[in-house]
Every structure is written in C-alpha cells, then in structure tokens.
Symmetry: C2
Subunit: 209 residues, 2 copies
Amino acid sequence: MKFYDCSTAPSPRRVRMFLAEKGINVPTIQVNLREGEQFSEAFRAINPDMTVPVLELDNGVRITDAVAICLYFEEIQPEPRLMGRNAEDKAIITAWQRQMERDGFYAVMEAFRNATPGLKNRALPGPDNYEQIPALAERGRMRLQRFFTRLDQRLAQSAFVAGPNFSIADITAFISVDFARWVKITPAEEHRHLRNWYDAIALRPSTKA
Amino acid sequence: MKFYDCSTAPSPRRVRMFLAEKGINVPTIQVNLREGEQFSEAFRAINPDMTVPVLELDNGVRITDAVAICLYFEEIQPEPRLMGRNAEDKAIITAWQRQMERDGFYAVMEAFRNATPGLKNRALPGPDNYEQIPALAERGRMRLQRFFTRLDQRLAQSAFVAGPNFSIADITAFISVDFARWVKITPAEEHRHLRNWYDAIALRPSTKA
C-alpha cells in the first residue's frame, strides 16, 4: 500500500488524522503541491485529477478521495469506530461529516482559492483552470462566520460534532477551523463551546499527524 | 418512518431512485419547495437547514442528507448492493459518487441557482440568503461541459460509473444529467458512451420514482 500525501495540505491531513486515530501506518510519498508536482506527468499518471490524497492498494487500484480512503480503512480495521457502529450512527455521522465539509471545509476553499495571488486561474483544484471570482471569495468568508456560529451552537448541545463520540465529523470540522486560519478567520471569543471543543481535540496526538 | 420529499426536486430524487432500486417503500410527505414550504415554521422545526430530503426514524431521529439517508437503507437492507460489498468496492464507489456529485450535481446547482430570476438571493440552499454571482453561474456551465466529456471517457472504459455494477454513483450521475436540462445543457452528439449509458439507465423503473 502507498499513500500519496502533502504534509502541508488540509485535504490529505483528513486522512492522516483518521489513520493516526486508528494507529495505522501506511508508507507515504510526499507530493510537493507548492512546487506544482501534482501537475507533473508522473503524478498525472497516478491521479489524472491531480489532487492528493491518493491511496494505492497492493493490487494497483487507486482511491483518489479523502473520505473514500477513510472508509476503506474503517472497513478493514473498524476499531476505534470513526464512522459509526450501526445504520443509524453511520447515517448521522455521514450527515454531519458532509455538513462540516460543505459549510466549513469548502467555504474556506472558496475564500482561499479565489483570493490568493499565487492561485490565479486555480480557483478550483483539479485538471482545469478557472479564474478567481472575488465575489465568491467574499461569500466564502461570510459562510465561514456562519459556520462558526452554528458549530458553536451545536457544540453547546453535544460533546462532539455528531453526538457523544469522537468521529470523522470532528476531524473534518477541526481541520476546517485550522484551514480557516489561511484566510485569517478564527472563532470569536464568544464561541465558547467551539473553542473548548477545539482545545480538547488539539490535545489528541492525531492532530500532529 | 417518514420521508420528507419534494417530487420535483433533484436532491430527494437521489433517495427515491435508491429506494426504488431496493424495492423499499417509506411513507412520504411532500414539501412544496416552489411555494416556499421549506421556510415555514413547521418545516424549520423538522429541519433547521430548510432542505429536503429528510428521513425521520421511528425514534424521532432525523437524517437530513441524501447520501446519509441512502447509507441508512444500505445498512438495514444491503441487497441489492448499491454502495459496495467489501472495503475496496465501498471506497471506489464512494470516490466516484463524490466525484459525480462535485463535478456534476454541484456544477448544475451553481449554474442554476446563480442565474434563475426566481432565486434572487437564494444562490445557496439552506437558511441563509446569498446573492447570485453571475460569474459562478457561467463557471458552473463550463464545468458541466467538462463533466460530460469526462463522464463519456469514463463510460467508454466501464459499463457503469464506478465499475462493472450499477451503484449509487450512477444514480448521482444520471440525476445530474437530468438536472442539467434545467440550465439547458445536454450531452453532445459525440458523447456516445454517455448517451448509451443514459438510455440504458432510463429504462430502469427507478428513474420514474
């Protein structure tokens, strides 16, 4: 098995944190996104979508999506459970994970990629070039403020994002909060529940993976 | 169990088609999105996110996301399998489902919501109002053309989106192709593999659900 990673990028970090929680080690190859290694012919042959993470199985099959890679490891090593134990749990965690991704992770991505001078024409990851849309960067910032407010409300009622147990939804939310620093947005002083949750998660060794 | 649906909307259709493939019937309540019933106080109490689909379980738990609802039914009634049989299959299908959603379904949503006169200030679903961004509508249309081209290439090599078997990835892709008609974009004559696949799927009774 081989894991194509980039140690500075938030997307593959989702998988690294997931694997660290399970205590799984996978031989890792770094892809230098800052130097554009994802656009090289060698990497395009590995993932035509030109993104990391990628997991290559021993039979040569490649899985090119962070959540799909997490599911693979959840299936081959269920404990500790990060994606739910039964139908109801799995559905609830999936719904929260997707909400954190959509309202948090993707909002940062919109804010970041549409406003960063070094990413001109790279407003979306992947093989195609798209011009930056300044109004979309602005909208991403607005969405992010609301994301923090709602996440704070949720964590006032629940120990973790998807319920009483730590799950992949916390991983996505935590990494989104860190990623938001890239656009200089952090939880407000008043987001007390969010800040307490963040500080508690930050103590987990998996956040350093 | 109760299923909150809207018979004209593409998001809950993903669940309807999934359930029809499995032969599952769930008591259904229609939410009239065209008349803004999702913004009513009654529906906000059911889903503060003001979207359909919603699945309400007998214990009162509500699942408010199309893919999470599909996963729930896959778990309680695995056959016929639509989300994979083993770790590798599940990961591959998840990756393809997410790619179809991101590059297809969400691209139509961008093109549609950012350009439709009746959706002023409703550029995103959910509780918050966001102004339309014309450049984003335009980008959605460009993405959609590329989505069709790549889907055609994929279907030149594979009977179904995620491999040799029909899966949730086909459901997402098929509904995205139908949804694209809302912005008057259809597969080109030269997208022969895509068109053949579409015509074959269209014969499945689940497409009428």
